[in-house]
């Protein structure tokens, strides 16, 4: 059966992609942020995942308000990025894993998660920036599976529902009959707000609480309402919903192997974490 090795949470804003395109990683503004990814890339080398399930939100590249799915799952052999309108250069396509996608879709729907199935979906910076950060812009060493959460139009799914979705994803992935090593990416956040008179809102205290609790007490965070999340981490900080799906998708206890948190990165609190599934060492020795 497929193995879930753990999860990586990471910011995904376009400014990160732009900084990478311009080789600004060692500039004083960016260094404290990018330095936080060296341990993440080392962990990936050690743990060797070959599939990345990417939980992200679309920002108006693929989905418009004409049809806005709450949860959408990609089921394509390949995923394409495209022009988002404000200058980030388009990345090469990403290999998919349609067999795992359809297994996930069938399993989720059988558990009453009525998701939208997408054989064509353009993936935006919420998907591409994390993959560039973790594997490099051109590398295509992992197969990918996009899971898109609506954070564009209300009502959004609740934190509790997102955690439940993640747990159902874990049951699906662990019942997939092959030897894939799956890492779950939760992208976006942490606190930030782009619009309104409160634009620029940041809340490091709440971000730290979220990072602490998501490790092994995610149910405490699932008790917040969506409005609570927006109040405490900003209208785009609500992307923390992606992190909750991610955490749910790693079953049982996890060990926090790494965290980096830096304010500000553009308008946001930049953050990354590695949550390794407890007992993973056993799996590593088994594959000896």
């Amino acid at each position: 059966m497929a193995t879930i090795v753990g999860a990586i949470a990471t910011s995904h804003i376009p400014a990160i992609g732009r900084a990478m395109e311009r080789n600004l990683e060692n500039e004083p503004y960016w260094k404290p942020f990018f330095d936080g990814y060296a341990p993440v890339r080392r962990w990936i080398q050690d743990v060797e995942p070959d599939v990345a399930v990417v939980v992200y939100n679309d920002h108006g590249l693929n989905f418009f308000l004409d049809k806005m799915p709450t949860f959408a799952v990609g089921a394509a052999p390949e995923y394409h990025n495209a022009d988002e309108g404000w200058g980030l250069s388009v990345t090469p396509p990403y290999p998919g894993f349609p067999e795992l996608s359809w297994h996930l879709i069938e399993s989720l729907v059988s558990e009453a998660f009525d998701i939208t199935m997408c054989q064509e979906v353009l993936v935006d910076h919420g998907f591409t920036v994390p993959l560039s950060l973790l594997w490099g812009r051109e590398s295509r060493s992992v197969r990918t599976l996009p899971v898109c959460i609506n954070t564009v139009q209300f009502p959004y799914p609740s934190p509790a529902r997102c955690l439940m979705l993640g747990r159902a994803m874990a049951r699906a992935i662990e019942s997939f009959d092959d030897d894939s090593r799956v890492v779950i990416l939760g992208t976006g956040g942490l606190s930030h707000q782009l619009e309104g008179k409160r634009a620029g809102f940041l809340n490091p205290d709440f971000d730290r609480l979220c990072m602490n609790k998501i490790v092994n007490e995610p149910d405490e965070l699932a008790r917040y309402s969506v409005q609570d999340l927006i109040r405490f981490c900003g209208s785009q900080g609500v992307e923390f919903l992606n992190w909750l799906v991610m955490r749910g998708a790693v079953p049982g206890a996890v060990e926090e192997k790494h965290r980096n948190y830096h304010v500000p990165i553009s308008n946001t609190a930049g953050a990354t974490m590695i949550l390794e599934k407890c007992g993973e060492a056993l799996f590593a020795s088994e594959r000896g």
Partner: protein, 117 residues
């Protein structure tokens, strides 16, 4: 841990059905700016591009004056508006500063101090 039940959050837009309906044409126009050809068509003749999408007078005035708070009020959604702002090379920091009524430098300084709280 659910501490409050009041849905209103000061200075914050909750983009629900009412705004989605009100802003549909405006957002549809902004969604079209994913394509370079459409961005160029807007640049060439802004008024007729707006007319093509059926924007209201309020929305057209807000587009004309580049006023993000007015666009939000008129039903604009920030994710689509960002694509419109990109046509003029405006970043999220420029937009943030404009909405706050401060200079971009002041806005960046506020962020550095983890401002807004």
């Amino acid at each position: 841990m659910r501490v409050q039940h009041d849905d209103s959050i000061p200075g914050t837009v909750i983009f629900g059905g009412e705004l989605a309906l009100k802003g549909y044409a405006l957002n549809k126009m902004c969604f079209s700016f994913n394509d370079r050809a459409n961005r160029e068509a807007f640049r060439r003749d802004e008024e007729s591009y707006c007319r093509k999408f059926g924007l209201t007078d309020t929305q057209r005035n807000a587009i004309r004056s580049r006023n993000v708070l007015q666009l939000l009020e008129a039903g604009g959604n920030i994710y689509y508006l960002a694509k419109w702002a990109g046509i003029f090379g405006l970043t999220v920091q420029d937009i943030g500063a404009q909405q706050r009524g401060m200079s971009v430098e002041e806005f960046a300084e506020m962020l550095r101090h983890a401002g807004g709280q």
